[in-house]
C-alpha cells in the first residue's frame, strides 16, 4: 500500500513539473491580435494598468468555442452553448476594472460560463471562487483553468443565487448574468467595504449595470452605470422578488 502511495506521489510530482512546460501558449499571431485590442483600450485610458496586464496575460482564444476563433476580439458576445455566452473582452475588462480587485481580495463570480472572467480575475488575485449553474460548462471551465495552470480557481456547479457561504464573506462579487433583483444572499456574503457588480433588470430584455458598495456602517451605495444585455440568470433568480 505504501509503495502504491509512493508511486502515485512520484507520478504526481512529475506531472506537476511537466504541466507548466506543456501549458497552453498563445501563438505570436494571437499575442499580436490581443496586444492590438489592449492597445485600443489603453488609448481610451479607461482601465488601470493591472487590468491591461491581466487581459494581456490571459489567452482569450483558449476560452472561445470551437470554430469561433475569428470572433475572439470582436466586441460582441459569442454563444458557447447551453444558452450561455462569452462576454466580449472589453466588457470583461470593464467589469474587472469596476471591481478594482486587489491581490489580497477574495472574489466570488456568479456565472463562470467559459471561465474567461475567472481567469482574468486570477491574474490579479489568487482567491477566485466561481459558480456556474450549467454543470457541463462548469466542467469545461475547470479543465481550461487546470490546463492553463490557474489551478487555484475554485469552481462549482450550483445555483449562484445562494452565493457560496462556505467561503464568504467576499471582498468583491461579480455577477455575469442578468437578474431582476439583487439576491439578499449575495449582499449577506459581501464584506463591509466590499463591492459587487451586477446587471439588474428584465433578464430577457436590457439591464442596468450596477456597482454596489457595502459601506462600513451597513448602508449601501449603488451606482447605475450603463445599459447592458446579459443572458438570464437561470436558477432561483428567476423567482420574483417583487417585480
Amino acid at each position: 500500500m505504501k509503495k502504491m502511495f509512493r508511486v502515485t506521489g512520484v507520478v504526481m510530482c512529475l506531472v506537476a513539473m511537466i504541466l507548466p512546460l506543456t501549458a497552453y501558449q498563445s501563438s505570436q499571431a494571437e499575442l499580436a491580435r490581443r496586444k492590438a485590442a489592449v492597445d485600443r483600450y489603453r488609448a481610451s485610458g479607461v482601465f488601470s494598468e493591472k487590468v491591461y496586464q491581466a487581459v494581456m496575460s490571459t489567452p482569450r482564444e483558449y476560452f472561445m468555442p470551437e470554430g469561433q476563433n475569428h470572433m475572439t476580439y470582436e466586441e460582441v458576445p459569442v454563444a458557447i452553448g447551453w444558452g450561455q455566452t462569452i462576454t466580449n473582452q472589453w466588457f470583461v475588462a470593464y467589469m474587472t476594472h469596476l471591481l478594482d480587485v486587489q491581490p489580497t481580495d477574495k472574489v466570488l463570480e456568479i456565472g463562470s460560463g467559459s471561465g474567461y472572467q475567472a481567469a482574468i480575475l486570477w491574474q490579479i488575485t489568487k482567491k477566485v471562487y466561481t459558480i456556474e449553474i450549467v454543470s457541463q460548462l462548469a466542467a469545461i471551465a475547470k479543465q481550461r483553468w487546470q490546463s492553463l495552470g490557474y489551478s487555484s480557481v475554485v469552481g462549482k456547479a450550483a445555483d449562484g443565487y445562494y452565493g457560496w457561504a462556505e467561503y464568504g464573506p467576499f471582498d468583491k462579487i461579480v455577477v455575469t448574468c442578468a437578474a431582476d433583483h439583487v439576491p439578499v444572499y449575495l449582499m449577506q456574503q459581501l464584506k463591509p467595504g466590499g463591492v459587487m457588480v451586477i446587471p439588474v433588470g428584465n433578464p430577457f430584455d436590457r439591464q442596468t449595470l450596477l456597482k454596489i458598495t457595502k459601506n462600513l456602517d451597513g448602508t449601501v451605495r449603488t451606482e447605475r452605470l450603463q445599459s447592458v444585455k446579459f443572458v438570464p440568470f437561470t436558477g432561483k433568480m428567476l423567482e420574483k422578488y417583487g417585480k
Binding site: V182, V184, Y185, M187, Q188, V200, P203, F204, D205, T208, L210, I212, G218, T219, V220, R221, T222, E223, R224, S227, K236, L238, E239, K240, Y241, G242, K243
Partner: protein, 842 residues
C-alpha cells in the same frame, strides 16, 4: 323571408361582436393587448372590403343572394372555429419586430388570419342590407340590437369563460344562422350540418379530453389553499400541428410574459386560474416566490417569506400575501412603504389598491391602529380572503381591518372618515391599483382631481404616500413628480414647497405629501429612516444640492432638478424641454402612462432612429398610430376600388364626394362619441367592463330604436329626419357638456346602481338620435342610387378600422372635451352632405 333575414342579422351581429371580444381577450392573455388592437383593426377592414365587393359584384350576387348568404355564414363559423388555434401556431414575438424580418411575416399572417372571420361576418350583414332594400331601417335596428345585446351578453361571458373557450358562444350563434339560412333547401341543410360539425370538431375533441394537458388531471393541490385542480394550460407547449389545431384548452402564452418567466422556475406551477371581469387571473405557487417591492439592500436578515404569485392576463406579478408574525416581518421595515409610518404612532391608514393583501399586511405590521383596505376588484380580494384563506389568515380577519370593494376615487367621495396615512402603493399592488385603466388607457387615480379627493380624506397633519417604480429613462416617476408638485402648487401656492418630501431608492421613488407643513423634527426622522433604507432625498423642504445622489447614484439627478424648477417657478420650461411627455394628467386627459410626444411618430416609418430607440413599454402609443396609418391606407383602397373597377357607369354617378363625406363623418362621429364616453365613464362607473358594456349596449340598443323610429321619414321627409337626428345629437352633447360633465365628480358619491341609471338616462337620448343618420342615408341611396348604397357601407366600415384608436390618440393629446366637440362637427358635416340633397341625374 323578411323575418328570417332579421333573425339572421340579429344573430350574426351578436356573433361578430362576440368574435371581436373573443379575439381581443385571447390575444390580451396570450400576447399583448396593444397588438390585439392593431390586429382587430385590420380585421374590421372586413366590413369595408365586403361593402366594396358588394359594390363591384352587386348584380352577380343578387342573382344568387341566398347562396351567398348561406356560404358567408358557413365560412364565418368555420373561420371562427379555428382562428384562435391557427393563431397559436404563429410564433410572433413583438419585441423582435424591429430586428427580425420574419416577425413582420408573422404579423402579416395574424392580419390575414383575423381578417377572415370578420370579413365573412361583415359580408353577411352587408348582404342582408341588399336583401331588404326597402326595410333598411328595420335591418339596421336588428343589426344594432344584435350588437348591443351581444356586447352585454358576451362581456358577461368574458368574465366567466376562460379566454380560450370564448369562441364557443360565437359558434353557437353562427350555427343558428347557418340553420336559419338553410331552411327550405334540403341540400343546404345537409351542407349546413357538415359545416357545423367541422366548426365544432375542436370543441368536441377537447370536450372528450383528447388533448387534456398532462398536468390537469392530477388535480394538484395547494398546500395551504383549496383543492383547485385547475389546468396548467399556459405551461403546456403545442404538441404538434394537429394538437395545435384541435386542442382548445391550450392558451400557448408568449414566453416573454411575466407569467411565463415565473413558470420557468423549477417547481412552480399554476394552482388557480379563473376568468373575471378584471381579466384572466392566475395564481402561481413556487417554493421561492417572494414579494418585497423596493426592499432595501441594507436589509441583511432572513429573506422574506414565500408567497403565491398573482397574475392578471399573464402580467404584473404581485403577491397573495401570506400572514407573517412580527418575528418574520423584519423586512417590512426596510420597504419604502414604511417611510410614512416612521412619522406616525399607531396611525389610522387608508390603502387604495389593497390587491392581494400585501399593503394591508405592511400597514398592520407597521402599527396601524385601523386599516381601511380599498380594492376595486372583488375577484382579487375574494381570492386572497376566501380561496386562499388559510394562507392569508390573520390579515383580512384582523379586527383592525375593514375591506371595501370600491374604486379609490369613488371611495373618497362616499366615505367621510379621516386618515393619518393614505397610501397608494402602485408598486405593491401592481396592476391592481391602476384600477380604472392600464397601459396607455385612462387612469383616474393619478390626476389632479384625484389628489383633491385624497386630500379630502386626510386628517389634519395626515400624509399622502404615493410610491412607484423608478423607470429608465425617467418617465413615470418624473410624471408623478410633475403631478404631485403642480397639484400642490395650485392648491397651496403659499407653502406647497413645505408640504412635499420625495425619497428615491435603488428602484423606487416615494412622495410624501402632508396635509400641513413638515416640521423640522419630522424631516430629521425621515433623514434617519432614509439613511437606514440606503435611500436618497430628491426633495425635502430646505434640501441642498450636496445632499442628493448619495446612496443611489444616477448619472443625472433629474428628479432634484425638476423639484427645484417647481420651487423656482420654471417648471413649464422643464416640462416643455423634456424628451418625454411629463405634463400632469387631469380628468379631461387622464393618461398617466402616455409618455411619447407626437414627434416620436416618424420613428414608426423608420425615420429618426426607428422603433429600436423606443422602450418596448411605450410601443402601445406608436402602435396606435400604426393602426391609424394602416386604416387610412386600406380605407382609401376600399373607397377607390369601385371607382377603378366599376367602369364608366359608376364614374358617372353624381354626388360621390358627398357620399364619401357623409358616411365618413357618420363613422367618425359615432366612434368618437362611443369611445370617448367609455373612457369618461371609466371614472364614473369605475369598472372598465361595466362602462364598456353599458356604453356599447345602451348606445347601440337605443340607436337601433332610433333607426326604427327614423323609418317614418321616407322620401322627401328624409331631410327633415336628418335635421331632427343631428339636432338631437347636438342637444344631447350639449347636455353632456353643460350638465352631466360638471355633475360627474359630485355624483360619484351616489351608489353604483343609481350612477348606472343616470348613465342610461344620459345615453338613451344620445343613442336614440345617433341611430337616425346612417339608415336615412342608406335608404336615400337605396331608393335613388342603388349602386352607391354598398359603397356607403364600405366607407362607413373602413372608418371603423381606425376611428376608435384615433379617438384614443385625440383624447390623449387634446382631452375629452375636444373629442366631443369634434364629434359634433362631424355630425354637422353629415347634415350638410346628407345624400338627399344631391341632385341626382335621371
Amino acid at each position: 323571408m323578411e323575418k328570417r333575414g332579421l333573425i339572421s342579422v340579429f344573430l350574426v351581429s351578436m356573433a361578430v361582436l362576440g368574435a371581436q371580444l373573443g379575439v381581443i381577450r385571447y390575444m390580451s392573455v396570450a400576447s399583448w393587448s396593444n397588438f390585439a388592437g392593431l390586429i382587430i383593426s385590420i380585421a374590421l377592414l372586413g366590413f369595408g372590403l365586403s361593402g366594396t365587393i358588394l359594390t363591384v359584384l352587386r348584380e352577380r350576387i343578387e342573382r344568387r343572394l341566398q347562396d351567398w348568404l348561406f356560404w358567408s355564414a358557413a365560412a364565418f363559423i368555420i373561420a371562427a372555429g379555428y382562428v384562435l388555434q391557427f393563431a397559436r401556431l404563429i410564433p410572433f414575438i413583438p419585441q423582435s419586430l424591429h430586428q427580425d424580418g420574419t416577425q413582420v411575416l408573422y404579423l402579416a399572417l395574424y392580419y390575414f388570419l383575423f381578417f377572415v372571420p370578420f370579413f365573412f361576418g361583415a359580408l353577411f350583414i352587408n348582404l342582408s342590407f341588399l336583401r331588404m332594400k326597402t326595410g333598411i331601417n328595420r335591418m339596421y335596428l336588428y343589426n344594432l340590437m344584435g350588437s348591443g345585446i351581444g356586447a352585454l351578453v358576451l362581456l358577461v361571458c368574458t368574465s366567466v369563460i376562460s379566454p380560450q373557450y370564448l369562441m364557443i358562444p360565437v359558434l353557437l350563434l353562427g350555427s343558428a344562422v347557418v340553420i336559419n339560412e338553410a331552411i327550405g333547401s334540403a341540400r343546404r341543410m345537409r351542407l349546413g350540418a357538415i359545416v357545423i360539425a367541422v366548426a365544432f370538431l375542436p370543441v368536441l375533441l377537447t370536450g372528450i379530453g383528447l388533448f387534456s394537458p398532462a398536468t390537469s388531471a392530477d388535480a394538484q393541490q395547494c398546500a395551504d389553499g383549496p383543492a383547485q385542480g385547475q389546468q396548467t394550460a399556459v405551461s403546456e407547449p403545442n404538441k404538434g400541428i394537429w394538437a395545435g389545431l384541435f386542442n382548445l384548452a391550450d392558451i400557448n402564452m408568449s414566453h416573454y410574459k411575466d407569467i411565463s418567466y415565473a413558470l420557468k422556475v423549477p417547481e412552480s406551477r399554476v394552482i388557480h386560474e379563473k376568468a373575471s371581469s378584471l381579466g384572466y387571473i392566475q395564481v402561481i405557487e413556487s417554493s421561492q416566490f417572494r414579494f418585497a417591492p423596493g426592499l432595501s439592500l441594507s436589509y441583511y436578515d432572513s429573506i422574506p417569506p414565500v408567497q403565491h404569485g398573482l397574475f392578471i392576463d399573464g402580467f404584473g406579478a404581485s403577491g397573495i400575501a401570506r400572514y407573517v408574525d412580527a418575528t418574520n416581518a423584519g423586512y417590512i421595515r426596510y420597504l419604502p412603504f414604511s417611510l410614512s409610518y416612521s412619522l406616525k404612532n399607531r396611525p389610522s391608514a387608508l390603502v387604495i389598491g389593497a390587491g392581494g393583501g400585501n399593503p394591508v399586511l405592511f400597514a398592520l405590521t407597521l402599527g396601524a391602529s385601523k386599516v381601511m383596505a380599498v380594492e376595486p376588484y372583488a375577484p382579487v380580494v375574494d381570492l386572497a380572503r376566501e380561496t386562499f384563506a388559510a394562507w392569508s389568515k390573520g390579515i383580512w380577519d384582523d379586527p383592525r381591518v375593514t375591506t371595501v370593494i370600491s374604486d379609490g376615487r369613488t371611495f373618497c367621495k362616499r366615505d367621510d372618515g379621516k386618515y393619518d396615512i393614505l397610501s397608494i402603493p402602485a408598486m405593491v399592488s401592481s396592476g391592481m391599483s391602476f384600477s380604472s385603466g392600464s397601459g396607455n388607457g385612462e387612469n383616474y387615480l393619478f390626476t389632479k382631481e384625484a389628489f383633491d379627493d385624497y386630500l379630502s380624506r386626510l386628517a389634519p397633519e395626515g400624509i399622502l404616500d404615493v410610491s412607484m417604480r423608478l423607470d429608465s429613462p425617467p418617465r413615470a416617476l418624473l410624471k408623478l413628480e410633475s403631478l404631485v408638485f403642480s397639484w400642490a402648487k395650485e392648491r397651496f401656492p403659499a407653502d406647497f414647497a413645505q408640504r412635499i418630501v420625495f425619497i428615491r431608492g435603488l428602484d423606487w421613488g416615494a412622495f410624501l405629501v402632508k396635509n400641513g407643513v413638515f416640521a423640522t423634527n419630522e424631516i430629521a426622522l425621515l433623514k434617519k429612516k432614509t439613511r437606514d433604507l440606503s435611500a436618497d432625498f430628491s426633495y425635502y423642504p430646505g434640501i441642498s444640492a450636496s445632499e442628493v445622489n448619495q446612496y443611489n447614484v444616477i448619472p443625472e439627478e433629474v428628479y432634484y432638478a425638476f423639484a427645484q424648477a417647481f420651487v423656482a417657478g420654471t417648471e413649464q420650461a422643464f416640462i416643455g424641454g423634456y424628451a418625454f411627455n411629463i405634463e400632469p394628467p387631469t380628468d379631461n386627459r387622464p393618461y398617466f402612462s402616455h409618455f411619447l410626444p407626437l414627434s416620436t411618430v416618424p420613428k414608426l416609418l423608420g425615420l429618426s432612429g426607428g422603433m429600436k430607440d423606443v422602450p418596448f413599454d411605450e410601443w402601445g402609443y406608436l402602435l396606435s398610430w400604426a393602426t391609424v396609418l394602416q386604416g387610412v391606407v386600406f380605407g382609401l383602397l376600399i373607397i377607390c376600388i369601385p371607382v377603378f373597377t366599376s367602369g364608366r357607369a359608376f364614374l358617372r354617378e353624381r354626388g360621390k364626394l358627398r357620399v364619401i363625406v357623409y358616411f365618413f363623418a357618420l363613422g367618425m362621429g359615432f366612434m368618437l362619441i362611443e369611445i370617448a364616453v367609455i373612457q369618461k365613464l371609466n371614472l364614473f362607473i369605475a369598472n372598465p367592463l361595466y362602462s364598456v358594456a353599458l356604453v356599447i349596449g345602451v348606445l347601440l340598443i337605443f340607436s337601433g330604436i332610433g333607426a326604427g323610429f327614423a323609418s317614418r321619414y321616407r322620401g322627401e321627409e328624409a331631410k327633415k329626419g336628418i335635421t331632427v337626428g343631428v339636432s338631437g345629437i347636438l342637444a344631447a352633447l350639449a347636455l353632456h357638456a353643460f350638465v352631466f360633465a360638471p355633475l360627474m365628480q359630485p355624483l360619484l358619491a351616489l351608489p353604483e346602481l343609481l350612477r348606472i341609471m343616470i348613465v342610461i338616462l344620459f345615453l338613451a337620448p344620445l343613442g336614440f338620435f345617433m341611430g337616425f343618420p346612417f339608415p336615412l342615408g342608406l335608404q336615400v341611396l337605396s331608393d335613388k342610387r342603388e349602386k352607391l348604397m354598398p359603397w356607403g357601407l364600405a366607407i362607413n366600415g373602413s372608418v371603423s378600422v381606425f376611428a376608435s384608436v384615433l379617438t384614443s390618440i385625440l383624447s390623449m393629446h387634446f382631452g375629452f372635451a375636444f373629442v366631443f366637440f369634434l364629434a359634433a362637427l362631424f355630425y354637422v358635416a353629415a347634415w350638410v352632405t346628407f345624400p338627399a340633397r344631391i341632385r341626382f341625374s335621371s
